[in-house]
């Protein structure tokens, strides 16, 4: 059943990418998608833990919030790049990551890196070493808003109690 879903998703992706709908070309798509699903099944590629994370309904809302943060941080870092004089005060620190799953911590680390002004350097099970361009950037990460939001996408509050479905 899951393999059928994978096949349909791959084939939809293939149709969108090709833009050609002659029988021969679509036939190639049918065959290559079947081959991909066969190989994925043999090699046990399909990672259901990650997959179930990406179909959580709250994730797109989090992405929207993240895009806003990225835009704000972009203008901040861009002005520090071009304005004369040194306007940076970098620091390295360790931030707690309260997510339960590996995918959650990875999402948090990636979100930190995506936001200009902070880059995750190393990750452990529940801690991330972050390089920040400014103290304000460090303060934003340590405030824990992003951390809490990803925990809520996981369906938990930051303290580990159940929250929602």
């Amino acid at each position: 059943m899951r393999l059928v879903g994978l096949y349909l998703a791959l084939f939809a992706f293939w149709l969108l990418m090709s833009g050609h709908y002659e029988p021969l070309i679509v036939g190639f798509g049918v065959v290559s998608c079947a081959a991909t699903v066969y190989i994925a099944r043999r090699k046990d590629f399909v990672d259901y833990a990650t997959l179930s994370w990406y179909i959580k309904p709250t994730l797109p809302l989090y992405w929207l919030w993240l895009l806003g943060q990225i835009l704000k941080a972009n203008f901040d870092v861009a002005t520090r790049c071009v304005l004369p004089g040194s306007r940076i005060d970098p620091c390295v620190f360790r931030a707690p990551a309260n997510q339960d799953t590996g995918v959650g911590v990875a999402t948090y680390a990636n979100s930190i890196t995506l936001t200009p002004g902070t880059v995750s350097m190393q990750t452990w099970d529940h801690e991330i070493r972050v390089h920040a361009l400014t103290r304000d950037g460090a303060r934003d990460v340590l405030g824990g808003e992003m951390d809490g939001r990803i925990c809520r996408v996981e369906g938990r509050t930051k303290d580990g109690t159940e929250d929602g479905p």
Binding site: L67, N74, A78, V82, C91, N110, V119, H131, D140, G143
Partner: protein
Amino acid sequence: MTLAVDIASWLCLVAGALLCLAGGIGMIRFPDVYARSHAAGVIDTGGAYLILLGLALQAGFSLITVKLVLIGLLLFFTCPTATHALVKAALAGGLEPLCRELGADETADLADEAAP
């Protein structure tokens, strides 16, 4: 209507181009790999997304827009991974950041300041 879309599209393209320029200047001016990775972050997030958005507005509802959105998603997932790998490689190579590592007490202070 087409004029409004054109104006919005060009605003996005110009803003994206300016962000890329600022990121490029930052990559030259900032002191070490770690600080420069932040300037690179401006290019591969804001610069790239705004240019893709501007191009999508030009293309309208078509297969091209679908492809532009997919390029955006690809960047959204691969850029932080690549940046993280680069910074981790620099760290593994023994390159120390040109700044202090904050102690536990300073970190706690910053966290307190951030809390509302």
